[in-house]
């Protein structure tokens, strides 16, 4: 009986959280189409999120591309197909790993910072102060962060794709001692527009997920500084898991659309 009650309470809490999140995300998205729109905050956030995440995205992409080239060349050469390493790296990165890895890296850096920043503002009553001054905190704090993340992640993913192919190329040339021209031409020639398209659609979703989750958990922080820590963990874990989860369904849909 007690177990049933606990299950019941947990299920209700989960449904309520999903409902609150949906309303929050809808409001934050729609606020872009009603004045006032805080464009300055959008630019500041785009700089913090986009330019600020550039170094970790470049490093992650370079090493992932390199590792992919190392691993795939070893496997492919067993079938006498080491020449298609470039094609393997570029397709894997552009269609799948580029957007997902960039999303997760940016989530680790920015969903956590959004949750902790907004959470600290909640526990020190700065959010209430903002409301008392007649300013909508969702419009002022969440909307610019969400759109700035969507915008930045799109370009960061392109950078990540380029860097990973470069990383794979460097490993192919200097460690696998294969032909660099062959690697890059294979990486380029077999790319089709649907591949690029799905690689560029995904970051739009992931950017929205990580920023809205980060802001949502930050805004509903309770329990002082300990609560801020809890919100930060929840934001990173939830956004990372959701990115992977949504990626699966998004890939399914895109594959059906471009079959």
């Amino acid at each position: 009986m007690m177990a049933t009650n606990t299950l019941d309470r947990t299920a209700k809490r989960l449904v309520l959280t999903v409902q609150d999140y949906s309303l929050f995300a809808y409001r934050a998205l729609m606020d872009l189409f009603r004045p006032p729109v805080y464009w300055t905050d959008f630019l500041i956030q785009a700089d913090i999120i986009g330019f600020g995440s550039l170094s970790i995205v470049v490093l992650t992409a370079l090493s992932t591309g390199g590792v992919l080239a190392l691993q795939s060349a070893a496997t492919l050469s067993a079938f006498g197909a080491a020449a298609i390493t470039g094609r393997f790296v570029s397709l894997t990165m552009i269609r799948e790993l580029g957007p997902v890895l960039t999303g997760i890296m940016v989530s680790g850096r920015n969903a956590s910072s959004m949750a902790s920043e907004l959470g600290s503002m909640v526990v020190t009553e700065q959010i209430d102060a903002m409301r008392a001054l007649g300013v909508d905190p969702v419009r002022k704090l969440a909307t610019p962060r969400i759109y700035a993340t969507i915008f930045s992640l799109f370009f960061l993913t392109i950078v990540a794709d380029a860097c990973s192919i470069l990383g794979g190329g460097l490993v192919t040339i200097f460690m696998n001692h294969q032909n660099g021209t062959q690697y890059f031409s294979m990486a380029w020639e077999h790319l089709r527009y649907p591949d690029i398209l799905q690689g560029l659609v995904k970051p739009l979703f992931y950017g929205f997920i990580l920023s809205s989750i980060g802001c949502f958990y930050g805004m509903r922080t309770t329990g002082g500084t300990e609560g801020v820590g809890r919100s930060t963990i929840q934001a990173v874990v939830t956004s990372s898991v959701l990115i992977l989860f949504v990626d699966f369904f998004l890939t399914q849909v895109i594959l059906v659309l471009f079959r």
Binding site: M121, E125, Q126, D128, A129, L133, G134, V135, D136
Partner: protein
């Protein structure tokens, strides 16, 4: 008027109460089923200063947040400037809140903004020209005697200075109602007196109606027994036996309003809790 009747109002209030600035009618609120405030009724008339007393954790700050719609009552009505706000949309409330000024317990200054941007926050949002913002911010900082902090950040201010900056921020938009949440909480006696002097100055110079929450009797009584002397530029005691007629008291016990009246009535109350609290 004395204790217990939560819906009754002091005579002074009733007289001036044709159109209260703020009115609570049978307001209750609970958090997760736990009642915090129950059937609270009182009002704040134009020009009136109401001091809400009660021990820590009794729901004073919650009541203050209900006053400008930061929290919604579970039942009952809150009327602000004649408008029922209990069910008002947040969008409409934002506009209404710009007519109030609120001083939070710890100041609640935006720590990433300078004192200038904190005090002028509303003006920045309204896209008032920079020169005009600078002028009005300096004016308010002069009122709280902190003009030298213009370019500083909240992190470099003391607790008392933060409260004074918070008062300046609450005043810059010339509010029609001021809400003070324990403005002297956690401050030393000297700094507390400075803050109370500012509140008395604001009250006597602008006569803005206000609701002030505190658990410090000394501060509460000082508001009744002192006035601001513009000639001397400081707070002076009223003649012995005189109190400010527009400054009245409310007291909470276990989420219920148990007293609503003047300082004289408070001091002569027969309510056991009031007597215990005053001791």
């Amino acid at each position: 008027m004395n204790e217990t009747s939560t819906s009754a109002l002091p005579d002074a209030t009733l007289a001036a109460n044709a159109r209260p600035i703020l009115a609570f009618r049978d307001v209750s609120i609970d958090f997760g089923g736990r009642p915090v405030l129950e059937e609270i009724s009182f009002s704040v008339a134009p020009g009136e200063t109401r001091i809400l007393l009660g021990p820590a954790g009794v729901g004073k700050s919650v009541l203050l947040k209900l006053a400008n719609g930061l929290l919604r009552p579970t039942q009952g009505n809150v009327c602000l400037f004649g408008q029922e706000i209990s069910h008002m949309t947040e969008e409409r409330l934002f506009a209404l809140r710009t007519r109030t000024g609120m001083v939070f317990q710890e100041g609640a200054l935006f720590d990433s903004l300078s004192v200038r941007d904190n005090v002028g926050y509303q003006l920045v949002q309204e896209q008032v020209p920079d020169d005009e913002i600078d002028r009005r911010v300096r004016e308010e900082l002069r009122f709280v005697e902190l003009e030298e902090t213009f370019d500083l950040f909240p992190g470099s201010l003391s607790g008392g200075m933060k409260r004074r900056v918070a008062i300046a921020r609450a005043l810059i938009h010339q509010p029609e109602l001021l809400l003070y949440d324990s403005p002297t909480g956690g401050l030393d006696p000297v700094t507390s007196t400075t803050i109370i002097e500012l509140i008395v100055k604001q009250r006597d110079v602008f006569r803005t109606p206000s609701l002030l929450v505190t658990h410090r009797l000394q501060d509460a009584f000082m508001l009744s027994t002192h006035r601001f002397d513009p000639a001397l530029g400081r707070m002076v005691p009223l003649p012995k036996g005189e109190t400010d007629p527009k400054t009245t008291y409310l007291m909470l016990e276990d989420g219920r309003l148990i007293f609503d009246g003047s300082l004289h009535e408070l001091l002569h109350s027969q309510n056991a809790f009031v007597r215990e609290f005053l001791r």
